[in-house]
Each structure stands twice: as structure tokens, then as C-alpha cells.
């Protein structure tokens, strides 16, 4: 029986052709038939503009345009076709400063290499089941970086949303 989510389109940006092929095959097993591919962030941005994928899996280290720069372009460029598209950063980088730079560029989720099917599926399920709300400030636009709401959080309360329950629908 054909899946009813056949319309879901993924974009895989990864400079390693072997890893790209592996990710494509694993996404197919989830029933995602359309998997677009690009070898760096620049080519990925072109695919995003032309084919409008629903979510992106992007490597971090690529040349000439890496995953962080790609994410910045998607979130902030004037000609970005979808600043809200979920971006999962697939990375072997465990160094804190690199992870923080990716987070601050507006990455939605991280998927650590080595890839396992289970971890990949969990990240994709997270995108589908719990889409992250976006925030906009003078210095940041992207998914809300606060993962948890703590009843004990003492402040500071700097966001408008800290004082109201309303959210804007895109």
C-alpha cells in the first residue's frame, strides 16, 4: 500500500558521496521517495530554491560552502525560499565551539556521526511530531534554542513570549 506521506521531500547535503547514498537509502526505507542531493551548501541552496524540499539533512564540513554558512543563508538571506525549513546537522564534529556555531546559525536538530538508522529515524520523527517554534530577535532568527521549559527558571525573562501564551502562526 503506498504511504500517504509520499509528498514529503528531503534534501541531503553531504560532500561524501558514499554517506549521501547511505542517507538516501535510509530515507527511502521510511517511505520518503523524493530525496534531493547536493555536495555542498551552495549547491544545496540552489536545490532548496528550485525544488522546495520539506526538510534538510546537512553535513557540517564541506567546501566551498559549509553547513553553518548554508544554514545562515537559509535563515537570513533576502532570497531564501523558506527560512523555516527544518535543518538537521549531520556531523562528526564533537567539538563544542563548532556545535555552538551551528546552533547559533539556526540548526533545528543535530545528528551525530556515526549514523545509525535508529538515530536518523528518531530525528526525522522529531521534525514531524514536534516542529520547533521559531524566535526572532535582533541577533538571532531560527528555531527556539530553549529545549525545556522549567517551572523553576528564575529568569531573566527577556522575551515577549515569557509574558504571554500567544504564538504567531506562520
Amino acid at each position: 500500500m503506498p504511504a500517504s506521506f509520499d509528498y514529503l521531500k528531503a534534501l541531503v547535503i553531504e560532500d561524501n558521496a558514499h554517506m549521501r547514498a547511505l542517507l538516501r537509502s535510509l530515507l527511502h526505507t521510511l517511505g520518503i521517495k523524493t530525496v534531493l542531493e547536493a555536495a555542498d551548501g551552495g549547491a544545496g541552496y540552489v536545490e532548496l530554491r528550485e525544488k522546495r524540499p520539506d526538510f534538510v539533512l546537512s553535513d557540517l564540513s564541506m567546501k566551498p560552502v559549509d553547513g553553518i554558512e548554508f544554514t545562515r543563508m537559509v535563515r537570513t538571506a533576502q532570497d531564501s525560499p523558506n527560512p523555516y525549513v527544518p535543518i538537521v546537522m549531520v556531523t562528526g564534529h564533537t567539538e563544542r565551539h563548532r556545535v555552538e556555531a551551528a546552533r547559533d546559525a539556526g540548526v533545528t536538530e543535530f545528528l551525530a556521526k556515526p549514523i545509525t538508522a535508529q538515530n536518523l529515524f528518531l530525528r526525522v520523527a522529531e521534525l514531524v511530531e514536534r516542529p520547533r517554534a521559531f524566535v526572532r530577535s535582533d541577533s538571532y532568527f531560527g528555531p527556539d534554542r530553549r529545549r525545556h521549559k522549567s517551572a523553576d527558571y528564575p529568569g531573566p525573562f527577556r522575551r515577549k513570549d515569557d509574558f504571554k501564551d500567544d504564538i504567531e502562526i506562520q
Binding site: A3, P114, L127, V128, I167
Partner: protein, 153 residues
């Protein structure tokens, strides 16, 4: 807060999640990884050869780049120790760059030799390779600590 448009129609979410959590889906995925394992091990072996070349040439950027490829792919295809050794080498080189200190050549050689053994050796040696990864990480931390002390002096 801005709520983005959901990826799937609400009626399709449950079916998608059922598919994600389906044991048959997991089995199919594992079969895919297994079927590509031999080919990917050969690819990792190629990166290890380039890693040796980068060390010989003293090319730190290439050394990092090849180690990064190994750590990204090796564990996925079962070369666990090779992946961890490569990850340790990347972390060390990243710290060296971050702190603007010179890389320790004997330490780099140990890392590369360990990665070679972990990729090409049989089971026993692979287990030893895992132990070597832990010891190398400790040695790297000690060397970086010494480098920091020298800067203070």
C-alpha cells in the same frame, strides 16, 4: 514565537510515526547498512591510506580532513575503534589549532598507526585499538596541558 507549518498533514503523522517505529522498517534499514558494509570498509581503508600520506607530507589540514572522513563513516560500518581513534585525532588537532600550539609529531604518528591497525587488523587487534584510543586521548590531554604550562612560563 512563530509556529512553522507542520511537515505532514495531521492525518498522516500517525501513519508516518508507525512506519518509523515499525520493526520491519528497522530491519530493512539494517539490511541496507549491512549490504553496503564491504564497500564502505574499502572506502574507509582508502581514507586511512590518505591519512598516512598526509602525515608523511606533514600536511595538517589534510590530516584533519582524512581523520574527519574516517570518524564520520567508520563506526557506521562496524570499524568502531578506527572511528574513535580518528575522532581523538580530530579533537587533538582542533585543540592544537584553537590554542595556536605546535602539534606533537610522535603523538600524531601514534594516532595514525593506531588508525591503520584498527582498520586493517583482525578482531583481537581491533579490541586493542579501542584501548589505544582511550590511552591516546589521555596522552593528548597531557601534552596539551604541558603546552599550556609552557605558554604560562
Amino acid at each position: 514565537m512563530i509556529a512553522p507549518k507542520p511537515l505532514l498533514r495531521s492525518a498522516d503523522v500517525a501513519e508516518f510515526l508507525r512506519n518509523v517505529n515499525n520493526a520491519e522498517t528497522a530491519k530493512r534499514a539494517e539490511r541496507i547498512i549491512a549490504s553496503r558494509s564491504q564497500e564502505l570498509c574499502t572506502v574507509v581503508d582508502g581514507y586511512v591510506t590518505k591519512l598516512e600520506g598526509a602525515l608523511k607530507a606533514g600536511d595538517m589540514d589534510a590530516l584533519y580532513s582524512e581523520a574527519h572522513e574516517i570518524r564520520g563513516l567508520a563506526e557506521t560500518v562496524g570499524l568502531v575503534a578506527a572511528g574513535r581513534i580518528a575522532n581523538g585525532l580530530c579533537s587533538y588537532l582542533d585543540e592544537v589549532k584553537h590554542r595556536a600550539v605546535a602539534a606533537d609529531r610522535p603523538l600524531l604518528r601514534l594516532y595514525v598507526e593506531a588508525a591503520v591497525r584498527a582498520t586493517r587488523a583482525t578482531d583481537d587487534a581491533t579490541r586493542l585499538g579501542d584501548k589505544v584510543a582511550v590511552e591516546l586521548a589521555a596522552l593528548a590531554a597531557r601534552r596539551l596541558g604541558e603546552a599550556k604550562e609552557n605558554i604560562r612560563k
